[in-house]
């Protein structure tokens, strides 16, 4: 299945093409854009393939399954890959005014990052997942530091060190798993780990993996790197990271809890439950205390990741479907909010709420885009966030956790408070000082188009929730019953 390789190979090829000295300067940005469009096209074909034929798998180099590196696409992977390509396209469009004249250098790294994220979503091998994590990390380092000056090094240190610790723990877990079972293929591990007796060792490995993915996903108490690093980044980089990086952690958590530790959940799920609840609460409280748009949005990532982890911790088919809906909804909305923050800075001249003002008068369209994304984040019907939250809360009630359902509702209310704060200060309230921003122009069009696109997706996601919910239910079924996944990978 060549389709499984293309979402990874195309961006890598685009990135290689972009750094070639022979490529004329003015063709660099169009190359990045074309590469991104092509990636979106192949990921859509892959999704169509998975919808038609069920789970797809490919063995690289024709090494049969437990020995070689396997690529697998089930419904969840395929959907994640499509949404990754879509966010890549949106961010590359948005970055045009910032990077096109400079030759689009950072966009080459953005493509490497997209390749690594798709690799992480498609791989069926734990060591390969580690390699993609490292590629992702290196590409993100390059994007963080290469974009502009080095003033932000301090905020980046926490990001660098915690993420390195995460990959070290991941690597250690891989070594121990290999010692336990003699395999690193996820499907084969599913079969082999069920045979291992000695709960303690398996639990230790599971804890190492949860620690590693918890750092990646920014779960309590491992989230401190996120609000320190994201506000320091160029805004298009922050949007790409905010949408996708933590979600790779959530996806990995989803994979290992369903595929690897299906028989050892008693130790894992209660821990995840506590961590998820505290992430939701502390993330949203952290956001309420901030006065910088990027910081508010960064803290909200933590609280939203809490909702997704809550779905994993409840581990019913409905809860997993809720997590999947939440993932898809959140990636679109959070990327969009960061893009909107960039536009607010572009038109209003600042990220600090006290220096912003009068943006509604300046651009009604931007205000509409913000309202759609912000109300969706807070969970107002009929936007996508409402359904995602409804499903999570419904599954907490089904599991008999009334207090968690109330907590989820309260966190939604506090999210609305933060969003109202931004709306009041930046859009509604007249500007305190003469506005320092630029007038709308051609650059605004490049930056506004992806915002409008993502806002439309949010609206249609909310109005057309039925097919998406059906899709998420099927994807969750594939996760809860991994027999087909295992059979597709190992054959027979």
């Amino acid at each position: 299945m060549i389709l499984l390789y293309l979402p990874i190979l195309l961006p890598l090829a685009t990135a290689s093409l972009m750094v070639m000295p022979a490529l004329p300067h003015r063709l660099r940005y169009p190359t990045a854009l074309t590469g991104s469009l092509a990636q979106l096209a192949v990921t859509l074909l892959l999704l169509q393939g998975v919808l038609d034929a069920g789970i797809l798998s490919a063995q690289t180099g024709n090494w049969p399954a437990p020995f070689g590196i396997t690529l697998v696409a089930d419904l969840l992977s395929a959907a994640m890959v499509v949404i990754t390509a879509l966010m890549g396209l949106a961010v590359i469009l948005y970055a045009q005014p910032a990077v096109a004249r400079a030759g689009g250098g950072p966009l080459a790294f953005a493509h490497v990052l997209l390749a690594a994220i798709c690799g992480a979503f498609l791989t069926g091998d734990l060591f390969n997942l580690y390699v993609w994590f490292e590629v992702m990390l290196m590409a993100s380092f390059a994007l963080m530091t290469g974009g502009r000056g080095w003033r932000a090094v301090k905020g980046l240190t926490a990001y660098v060190v915690l993420n390195l610790l995460a990959t070290l723990c991941f690597l250690m877990a891989i070594g121990l798993l290999y010692g336990l079972t003699g395999t690193l293929n996820l499907a084969h591990l599913h079969l082999q780990l069920a045979l291992v007796d000695g709960d303690a060792t398996v639990t230790a490995v599971a804890m190492l993996l949860i620690f590693a993915f918890g750092i990646k996903a920014a779960l309590f108490p491992l989230y401190h790197w996120l609000p320190a690093a994201y506000p320091q980044l160029p805004i298009y980089t922050a949007a790409l990271f905010a949408g996708l990086l933590t979600k790779v952690g959530v996806y990995s958590l989803l994979r290992v809890t369903t595929l690897l530790f299906a028989a050892h959940q008693a130790a894992i799920l209660p821990l995840l439950l506590v961590s998820a609840a505290l992430s939701m609460l502390l993330g949203v409280l952290g956001a309420a205390a901030q006065g910088d748009v990027r910081r508010i949005l960064s803290y909200h990532i933590i609280s939203q990741v809490g909702y997704m982890a809550l779905g994993i911790a409840l581990f019913t088919p409905l809860a997993l479907a809720a997590t999947i809906v939440y993932l898809l909804h959140h990636i679109v909305v959070k990327t969009n909010l960061f893009l909107i923050a960039g536009l607010m800075r572009h038109l209003g001249g600042a990220y600090q709420l006290e220096r912003l003002g009068g943006l509604y008068a300046k651009s009604g369209l931007l205000a509409t885009g913000f309202l759609v994304a912000a109300l969706s984040l807070a969970g107002i019907p009929p936007l996508s966030g409402f359904w995602a939250k409804l499903l999570v809360i419904r599954s907490t009630l089904d599991a008999g956790h009334l207090s968690l359902a109330l907590l989820a509702l309260a966190v939604g209310l506090l999210t609305l408070y933060s969003m109202t704060k931004i709306w009041q200060a930046a859009f509604w309230h007249p500007a305190a000082s003469p506005p320092a921003g630029t007038a709308p122009g051609a650059a605004t069009l490049w930056m506004g188009a992806p915002v409008a696109l993502l806002a439309l997706i949010t609206i249609f996601f909310g109005l057309g929730i039925e097919p998406i919910f059906q899709f998420a239910t099927h994807a969750a079924e594939q996760l809860v019953h991994p027999q087909i996944y295992v059979k597709t990978v190992l054959g027979g």
Partner: protein
């Protein structure tokens, strides 16, 4: 032997974490290096310690005739070493730029 290596790994890892927590950039880099080597030792130990033959197959045969060592953990360690090396290089570059910006900021403050 594995017990000894396990203890050693724990010691190296603890030293690495201690250095990372020192709050000094250069120690942090050494700490990361130590911790990543400790992890390599974990893979090496978990892969099974045995004084067996290298996994080479005699000419004309398709499977080894006697028990051979497992080469995969070593391949994984090799990959991890390469990646770790690249990351240490990056962090060193970060450290260097950090020092220079700090120095420039201090210079500006003096004026």
């Amino acid at each position: 032997m594995s017990t000894l290596l396990a203890l050693l790994t724990g010691l190296i890892f603890a030293a690495g974490i201690y250095l990372i927590l020192c709050g000094n950039f250069l120690r942090l880099i050494f700490g990361l290096g130590l911790a990543s080597n400790a992890v390599n030792l974990v893979i090496f130990t978990a892969g099974g310690l045995s004084a067996r033959r290298p996994p080479l197959i005699a000419a004309g045969q398709t499977v080894p005739t006697e028990p051979v060592a497992n080469a995969l953990p070593q391949a994984m360690i090799l990959t991890a070493i390469v990646i770790g090396f690249a990351i240490i290089t990056f962090v060193l570059a970060l450290f260097y730029r950090h020092q220079r910006t700090e120095a420039a900021a201090a210079e500006e403050g003096r004026r």
